[in-house]
Amino acid sequence: MPHQIGVTIQAPVAVDRVPELRAWLAEISRKGLAEGPFDLAHVRGLHFARFYLLEETADLEGRSIPASLVFMSAVDAPLRRHLADLVDVAGEGMDQAFRHCTGYPGPDARRRAKIAWLRGHRVAASAFYVNTVGRGLEQIRQEAALRGALADYLDGRDWGGSSATEVRRELQAYVAGRADLAWAQRPPAPPSVFFRAREAVHMAAVPLALALLLPVLLLILPVWAVALRLEERRDRPVTERPALAHLEELSGYEDFVTQNPFAVVGFVKPSRLRQLTFRAVMFAIDYAVRHVYNHASLAGITTIHFARWVPLDGWRRMTFASDYDGAVEAYNDDFINIVWWGLNAAFGNGVGYPPTRWLLWGGAQYEQQFKATLRCHQIPVPAWYTAYPSLSAQNIENNAQIRAGLRGEMGPADAQRWLSLL
């Protein structure tokens, strides 16, 4: 199975094209991205995708930042195949979208020119969270079908009087007898050797480098902590509340299926200390999501399929985007109740975030300030695609465990535990 990549494409929008782009996004919002002109349902290995518009704004020094159109996809590797699909399969839609952007080669340009343009407008994420690294779209779909087939098979009989082991054996035989489920008897293939080797090297190299730097870090850390605390003390509580019209626009795009798209954008605090802190935190998050939180849970949150932190405009701004299960209120509650420290470490370096203490405390612990901050900085996502609109991340993990339980020997207790997944 392939590993997953987060592709982010950002392109400036010509000033006079912004109203037209807004109107087009509204139209696409009604049509959706699954079918023509985007036909994303046929883009290979695509889990989620979205478009959103970042309106023109001025940075903290008053310099103008032009409006830009952002496209994001969470997709199975390789990148080359995905970019080709975006032009070959979703080409008509991509042309419609990016014709509003300066420099787009246009619908009549050659295929290679379009691919090169998309490739050239990619923005690298500083961290990309994948609920379960290596679980590709095909696997998710197959395992959902497996669970459906087994559940239906169980429905068809009265199992009273059978032991759990007997029922499991029946289910194994049922799967063995169905050619279309033959794959389920084998474990899913791992990601490529190259990917695994790269990750293994990264996993070892980072702690090694830190160990070598430890003496220096130990000297710097106290100074850094005090300097940061002094800066923090100048932060003011958040008093801004989101405007009703903004809330209405956001909720107009939310809560249609199991998952929702989330996107926020904000400025990074401009001081050198904050910029440095932010990059260090992003480095840590990148490490954590690659090597620690890479299976079914982001530090205790089990409802996020994909999430990414993408620095924009040379790290002056940052956008965070995720595809998560359930409502935004529940999502924020998870942030506040479970990973407040992680949110604080990252967003605490953002302008307009509730004040933190020693980077990790405060911040998200101010429930309403935090919720208001996120809502104020949230960007409407008018066009969004999900490949599995009724599957929660928990469902997907459960399905994988059902498949895994088809193999090997099990005692009665384990067999019963496995049956309860169904």
């Binding site: 559940a151 169980l154 429905d155 199992w159 059978s162 032991s163 759990a164 007997e166 029922v167 509580p237 008093t239 801004e240 509340r241 989101p242 009703l244 809330l247 209405e248 909720s251 107009g252 939310e254 809560d255 249609f256 199991t258 205790g300 089990t302 299960d325 359930g326 409502a327 209120e329 529940a330 509650d333 506040i336 109740n337 479970i338 509730p354 612990q365 101010y366 429930e367 309403q368 300030q369 009724s390 599957l391 929660s392 928990q394 469902n395 459960n398 019963q416 049956l419 309860s420 169904l422």
Partner: protein, 493 residues
């Protein structure tokens, strides 16, 4: 920290559900203008029951919607200090989708509260010990409203408050216990008053947002000052949000479904199995006994038992299914993070509702005692019945979003709740294309019930604010255009 509540300034409905006042009627009305509103409020004010000592044979409460407060003369800038959900109202299209008020529950079909109907600006809730007293109080109220030229949008009758809700189950057992307000209950976790009354620290030890006015807008010092110390006049303190929803219950369909789904192989009905399935869907037996303690048979001795968790005794839901009504509406210790832990309970505590609903309409369900599945009218009710049978659902909260709406969306109507795939609340959930499955775990194989009909439909509803006595006095003396703009922004401790 336990804050001392100003009971004489809080409307009594927060403190008590008036079990002794078995008769109730809720009058929803539109306020044509400020003069009419003031005429009504001046009449109502001295009649309102507070949370202080109570011995009377009737009680009266008044609550206002956002539009109602505007018509009373409160400027938009002040109303913006209430929560966004309150300002937006219950019946907008996005909110309807969020709350599951779609298809047959859509505001298009509501009897009241829909955008196209008369505005539900305010509601008066009347409670009385006897039908005669209720009738008298209601006539006085109707007289006052008529004199003020106020149009009654709807009068929601209720039936005599018994032990059971219309499906036939003992109800109202698990209520949050509130610090400084409730008498301590065994095994119950006392929640900070700020979860249900504004102006007191909530479960995060913070003050929930509420409208604060410049002190200069309250020269007569009618309002308490912001307890967080901003000096602002606190219009929200000692008040709370009141959610009113008319939920029509298809009692016949519920029991018929349970009876059909549990027929014996020879096709005959199995009343015991029928009641057992109904109990699985609810999580309690008709008597109220929780399945977690009485998994196989009803045990009326446990009718008020509320001292239990789920995770350690029943992690797989063999006794009480994960999707059962009471395990969704109050999951206790069964949810992430780390089920069974204090952290899980603490998360649960942030989503509690103080329920004050009353049943309406003729007839309630047969119960386990009945031999057949026929529905028999159990209440001899002489009050005029309109629009079927159900519950005038009332709940009081400090946060509509974190409490009522969260429970409604994330727990009740979420087909993926707690690892499930396609199960909304079997009793009260919406079945909008999804969610029509009920999963009852068993050994060795769970039983899946599919194609569950929708048993509960929303027939009306609105968000109200139940102001403190001082806030009502403030509203009462408000001349047109008296208040300028909100003073301070909400404060945090």
């Amino acid at each position: 920290m336990t804050a001392r509540l100003n009971l004489d300034n809080i409307q009594g409905l927060v403190a008590r559900g008036y079990r002794g006042l078995s008769y109730a009627r809720f009058t929803v009305f539109a306020i044509p203008g400020q003069d009419a509103g003031h005429a009504a409020l001046s009449w109502l004010l001295p009649r309102i029951t507070t949370a202080g000592k109570f011995t009377a044979d009737s009680a009266l409460h008044v609550a206002f919607g956002a539009a109602g407060l505007r018509r009373m003369g409160l400027p938009d800038g002040v109303i913006a200090g209430f929560s966004a959900e309150f300002g937006e109202g219950m019946a907008g299209p996005d909110r309807s989708r969020f709350l599951g008020d779609v298809e047959g529950s859509s505001p298009r079909f509501w009897d009241w509260g829909a955008p196209q109907g008369s505005p539900a600006d305010a509601v008066v809730l009347l409670y009385a010990a006897t039908p005669e007293i209720l009738g008298r109080r209601q006539a006085e109220l109707a007289g006052c409203l008529a004199a003020a030229g106020i149009h009654q949008v709807t009068v929601l009758d209720t039936v005599e408050l018994g032990d059971n809700e219309p499906f036939g189950f003992h109800d109202g057992i698990s209520q949050p216990v509130i610090q400084g307000l409730s008498k301590g209950a065994r095994g119950a976790r006392a929640l900070p008053a700020g979860e249900f009354v504004l102006g007191y620290p909530n479960a995060y030890d913070q003050f929930t947002d509420r409208p604060l006015l410049p002190a200069s807008d309250d020269p007569r010092h009618l309002l308490p000052r912001d307890p967080a110390g901003s000096g602002a006049a606190d219009l929200g303190r000692d008040g709370c949000y009141l959610v009113l929803r008319q939920l029509e219950q298809d009692v016949g369909a519920f029991w018929e479904y349970a009876a059909e789904a549990t027929r014996r192989p020879d096709g005959s009905y199995d009343p015991q199995a029928r009641t057992a399935l109904a109990a699985k869907m609810v999580g309690r037996w008709p008597s109220g006994a929780p399945l977690i303690k009485a998994p196989d048979n009803d045990d009326p001795r446990l009718r008020d038992d509320n001292d239990f968790g789920y995770h350690h005794t029943d992690p797989d839901g063999l006794a009480c299914p994960r999707g059962a009504h009471i395990r969704r509406m109050n999951p206790r210790d069964s949810l992430d993070p780390s089920p069974g832990s204090e952290q899980s309970l603490a998360v649960n505590d942030r989503h509690r509702l103080l329920r004050r609903g009353r049943p309406y309409g003729p007839g309630t369900a047969g119960t386990a005692a009945d031999d057949d599945h026929a529905i028999r009218p159990a209440r001899d009710d002489s009050s005029p019945a309109r629009g079927g049978t159900g519950l005038h659902f009332v709940c009081l909260v400090a946060s509509l979003a974190r409490q009522f709406e969260f429970v409604q969306h994330t727990w009740l109507n979420n087909p993926n709740f707690n690892g499930l795939y396609d199960d909304t609340d079997p009793l009260a959930g919406s079945r909008d294309g999804r969610g029509a499955t009920f999963t009852a775990p068993r050994r060795p194989v769970r039983r899946r019930y599919r194609g569950l009909p929708q048993f509960v439909r929303t027939r009306g509803g609105a968000y109200f604010f139940l102001p403190s006595i001082s806030a009502l006095r403030y509203l009462d003396q408000l001349p047109a255009g008296a208040v300028s703009a909100p003073a301070a922004s909400p404060t945090t401790r």
